[in-house]
Symmetry: C2
């Protein structure tokens, strides 16, 4: 136990040692998600299928690392999470397993399947309006009121270390299957929790973050050398999991100078969802498909040791059917 | 090399030693497919995701075991396969990897995605009409004409042993993840190649074969104690991979007294496809979902160490979208 008790230092920077500790804990609980080869333009790329986690997304990793470190007293007071649905499920899953009461602040327009799954896992849901309400203010107020622990979706050292366990698994699998370390890891990016974890886990790989067009605050920040929010009035996107307005210092400190960012269009995302269905037999949600979309669109050139994170697969059936039919 | 050369004994019975040899060969080539837990009626069942193989189905195993045992002379004369699409892809994949010319006899009404994929893998396709033509006669004539090796989809000892490697992987994974051997393995069944392989691989498990209603020749045969064909005029089924008229002696000799068989309706199959999408984020073809359908429909009671084979995921996007929308 690294002691995330009442005196836990939330401002501490995440470390590679922490990522390795998280990876050991995750390995004791969950089998590695498969690394699936697929050919793109004659080159084999390696897809890390995080959509196959029990909650359908990598978020289970960070949530487990965070919640399992809480003290008995903290567990008794419960946890509060904020999420459009995948971190929500990760927190709810870990909380149920540990017997912790969980409250999740979720946007009213979250996919129905995500809301239903969080409820099924036994968490309480507090809804908010993305356009008019501040989710951080709501969740902080809730946590203070109850003395509960706030588990941020990405600005938390344990969460970042937990997500980094993807990279530790990936390194082992790349060595066994691709003959060596990943030279490049292309990953979906919301707030930068997973991306920061990958930087710590895979120090020799180039990390490429991918966001939906108009929601490319990470790309802007990496280019600008300081945290920049998305431009005003961002466009509608099907990538509900990646609608983050800005990264946070704890994430940016890890990513700055170590990653580059790019963006994909909605049409490119849909094409990637169709490709994953046809070639990998995987159902990906839009946000889970953006890294694959970037490679398919030629925005990242694969080199035979390029890994792509397929980060989530929680999508409403009707919306997914429309994507397959080409009408979405 | 066990010597499947010109003098290879195709009439020999498959053995457990052969399954273990096949499993070692497959393990050197392909990482294990994941074993995914999912709750059904409050009980955790274990889903072996063979739809995640490079060709989208377990058939790659038997094809690899068979083709890799061919002598240089046999390889030079090519192979002929018969299949509605998954064995076809397995043979084409193995043939390409070994530099063998492959010809596949496929039904005219095979899913477009299966026809396209076999062509992409570089195999020649000869089409036949399911209703009016005898696929075995066509393929035997082709093989004789060319001196090629006929690779039957299920009535071949190497193919059976290769498919059995699913069970060897499963045993290792069940021990690690479920705390012990599978008590019961529920599997889709066409001709009985996979089912026979599982009997050899997992001697302590009950093997339950599942077929579409009206195509339940295996269930009838297991009940009757002798090989029985499907009843005349079988109904239409979406399970193109499981439209086998009768099993063969080499399969039945292994299965008789060791397996029981049951059937599922088309609606139950569609419900299983929707469940796999929502709960496992996997795209299953109808035939790949029948074992899951049987458990979901309550026709097999899961006991916490029940394994379900999800055998394939090659399905046309439009047909799959209709299933998701509930209009299929």
């Amino acid at each position: 136990m690294t002691g995330a008790g009442p005196l836990a230092d939330l401002a501490r920077q995440p470390t590679r040692a922490g990522v390795l500790a998280a990876a050991a804990k995750v390995a004791a609980l969950l089998p590695p998600t498969p690394l699936l080869p697929v050919e793109i333009g004659g080159v084999t790329v390696w897809c890390k299928a995080e959509c196959l986690q029990p909650v359908g997304a990598f978020k289970i990793r960070g949530a487990w690392h965070r919640l399992s470190e809480l003290s008995e007293q903290e567990r008794a007071r419960g946890v509060v999470g904020v999420s459009s649905g995948n971190h929500a499920q990760g927190v709810a899953w870990a909380a149920r397993r540990l017997g912790i009461e969980a409250t999740i602040v979720m946007p009213r327009d979250a996919p129905a399947v995500k809301l239903a799954r969080v409820r099924e896992l036994g968490a309480h849901i507090v809804l908010y309006d993305r356009a008019s309400e501040d989710r951080d203010a709501i969740s902080e107020a809730l946590a203070n009121e109850r003395g509960a622990t706030l588990v941020h979706a990405y600005a938390d050292p344990w969460v970042i270390e937990g997500q980094g366990s993807v990279g530790i698994e990936l390194a082992v699998q790349m060595a066994a299957q691709a003959g060596g370390e990943a030279t490049r890891i292309v990953t979906p990016c919301g707030g930068g929790g997973l991306a920061a974890g990958l930087v710590l886990a895979c120090p020799n790989a180039e990390i490429v973050t991918v966001e939906p067009e108009g929601w490319d605050d990470m790309a802007r920040s990496l280019t600008g050398g300081r945290i920049l929010a998305v431009a005003p009035n961002p466009p509608a996107t099907a990538c509900d999991a990646l609608q983050t307005l800005a990264t946070r210092p704890i994430n940016f400190a890890v990513l700055d100078g170590r990653a580059r960012g790019l963006a994909v269009s909605e049409a490119e995302v849909r094409a990637a969802q169709r490709f994953a269905f046809a070639r990998l037999r995987l159902a990906l949600e839009p946000g889970g498909a953006v890294a694959l979309a970037a490679v398919l669109a030629g925005k990242v050139a694969p080199d035979g040791r390029t890994a792509i994170v397929l980060s989530g697969g929680n999508v409403d059936a009707a919306a997914y059917a429309e994507v397959l039919l080409g009408t979405g």
